[in-house]
Symmetry: C2
Subunit: 426 residues, 2 copies
């Protein structure tokens, strides 16, 4: 049923049918969850070899015993391996602990309070009202980190090529307090967008527009997380930055959280030698160093780029059917209904659904009331405020295909119910 | 030779003999290092079983797969195990990553900028000149963390029972900007002092003198690191605090860095439920959670308190001969010389040596010039400034007994040379 081509009578009939379906769901005592971008058990099992991989061999190439203290920036072997994942050289890398969020928070905190190029470059010296651009919909943890640091978030729309760069450029030109932008450039959270070459190139130029202390936070969390080889590649932003002379205006992040184990992987940070030197120095005040043994495990397990590709293909084989299930259900029930739009990602962990304006909260509530948990409406926007109340993030990796099909049956009924009721003015 | 009982002639003769010995050392091309409190290879080998201990079993008692996201405060099994190490209940615990320094930095940062009891309790709201008491000699990383946070350090002398509590109490009474004190209460770094019961009891009362936002940073890094069972025990400060109603004025820290692997262990934090709740909330902005898999490894490896004791006895057996070597060399050459004093620790990682005033720098330089690296003079004081220029931290765990003996032969000659030259007015 097309929402705008149906008569009021037809809509009312349909609403009645949907209500019946919904009542049936109520009686099923469902307990389904599409909220978190968590790998499923089969994916986690792919990395069980990590435990026991060391064989009492803890010495690196230089003869250093990695079980002991030393080395704030991680082991050389991990730098070489993960540099390839985000398109850098080993000397551009700092290898951290089990998550990229702590690295991102640390970098923002350092730039804010201590400065990446000496204390005079600290953002807090320039202004007490520092701001970041937040492409929306985006990742709630990025936004929360900024909020906690007292950094204001200014939403800017995402389109199919990445952030709306006309707006981004205009905003950083107009407001010197804007010191950063959050980017998830490949298979963006939650839209799945891969930034176009032009967008990457324009982002690389931002440092020349915004000034020396502006930093692009390039969270390449899904760098190698394509569903198939044909998925679009991401241009190498550091190459672009070096060509523009803006290599100090970017920090790159990544992790193995969705390569090996979520929460027990290895995170990494890349940047210019100026930035890495400064960050290493600052990092030394709050840590003795990262867990080098877990880094060594990861190096021995992942081995090299070819082996990593083969490993990621196994992940893709496990999760693609889950995305297919989401997309088929959406297409079948809403494909010609004008009740919303959604992304068709070629990698990453999410499908982004936009309902008709003003309905996201209602849809999430309807689903929740019959046992299907969705990410709270608004979560993909700073301060939890989606001005159009339309975006819903669907995370289908964790449940089984059957659970996803069931959850999506519920979801589309909720979308239809909310849309029709809105149309009917109820 | 007793410095004050020798004639000038005898001193000059002795200086000449020592200079010859020193010249011999110069020709030996020594490369010895007593700088870092690092475990040695035999100690690290005690924990090799950690790798491969999981046997594809990643599920905790509640059925949760620990390989996945979830749980900001660590796994229940680790809470139960490590609570015993620092004398708390499991619900008082937060289990972190691979180091206690990040936890301590995070707690100080949170108390400073966000407050442990809501934003109104943030130290930065009360004053722009927050201060911490630094018992000296102490641990340089504690001091550096404060410096980086913009917290001023006020030295206060250590004696054989812990910090000079008369002074501590007077200082916190007189200055409301003093918001914390660093304590390494058992086998203190570097003095090896175990705080007396009276000192513990008086520290537990500080919250009632200093006010609600004062925090004792109780870094119990060497809680189970005695050389023999007869070593003095530490009173349970949380029991004292609860009796005084000051349980919100203390945070306790510890780690397995010197139980299992340095840099690849597990760190933990303990405190009142008010503090733990607040810290958990704040922690969620900068991390998704700790490495639960490494926590699980540690739980399976350490098992329980009895097994931990047996494990620590193995460490003691390895390192006690190293401390004995240091103490014998000091006693043999300086025992009746009036050229300095030193501690005789019953646990921990250090011997603290006090030269005659004004000689520490000179002694460290003399030793360094013949290839024996010592911790820089002043390192045990805030801002690297030892006002009496006398304290030198000796860290004998890492080198072999033979290397230690050689290094100490050099050390005592340097002490004697510097002392005699000072006496001679050279």
């Amino acid at each position: 049923m097309h929402l705008d081509q149906a008569t009021s009578e037809q809509l009312r009939e349909q609403e009645s049918l949907l209500r019946e379906k919904y009542t049936q769901f109520q009686q099923e005592n469902l307990n389904l969850d599409l909220t978190r971008g968590k790998p499923n058990t089969a994916q986690l099992d792919l990395s069980n070899e990590l435990d026991g991989i060391l064989n009492d061999n803890y010495v690196d190439k230089t003869g250093t015993d990695l079980r002991n203290y030393g080395g704030i920036d991680g082991i050389a072997e991990a730098k070489a391996l993960f540099a390839k994942v985000i398109g850098l050289e080993p000397e551009d890398m700092l290898i951290g602990g089990n998550g990229s969020l702590p690295l991102m928070y640390f970098c923002a905190h350092t730039a804010l309070h201590h400065g990446l190029r000496g204390s005079d470059s600290a953002w807090s010296k320039e202004s007490t009202a520092i701001k970041f651009l937040a492409p929306v919909p985006g990742y709630d943890r990025h936004f929360a980190a900024c909020e906690h640091l007292g950094i204001e978030l200014i939403p800017v729309d995402m389109d199919g090529d990445g952030p709306d760069m006309d707006k981004v450029e205009a905003m950083v030109k107009a407001d010197a307090d804007i010191k950063g932008i959050w980017c998830v450039p490949r298979f963006s959270n939650p839209t799945g967008v891969v930034y176009s070459d032009e967008t990457v190139s324009r982002i690389a130029k931002l440092g020349n527009i915004a000034g020396p202390n502006f930093v692009v936070f390039w969270d390449n969390a899904y760098a190698v997380h394509a569903f198939e080889e044909a998925a679009p590649e991401l241009a190498n932003i550091m190459d672009c930055c070096r060509a523009e002379g803006t290599e100090d205006n970017i920090l790159l992040f990544g992790s193995t959280s969705k390569i090996t184990l979520a929460g027990a992987g290895v995170a990494f940070l890349g940047g210019s030698s100026t930035n890495i030197t400064s960050l290493k120095k600052n990092l030394g005040y709050s840590t003795i160093g990262p867990d080098k043994i877990n880094q060594l495990r990861h190096v021995k397990f992942i081995k090299d780029a070819a082996n990593l590709s083969a490993h990621m293909a196994k992940h893709a084989k496990i999760i693609k059917p889950r995305f297919d299930a989401v997309l088929e259900k959406l297409q079948d029930s809403l494909g010609h209904a004008n009740m919303g739009a959604w992304t068709k990602p070629q990698g990453g962990y999410f499908v982004s659904f936009d309902s008709l304006p003003g309905l996201a909260r209602e849809i999430v509530k309807l689903a929740s009331d019959v046992g299907v948990k969705l990410t709270p409406a608004g979560a993909t926007f700073p301060y939890g405020k989606d001005p159009a109340d339309k975006n819903i993030r669907l995370a289908p990796t964790f449940p089984s295909v059957r659970e996803i099909e069931k959850a999506m049956d519920v979801f589309v009924v909720c979308v239809q119910l909310a849309s029709i009721r809105q149309k009917l003015g109820e």
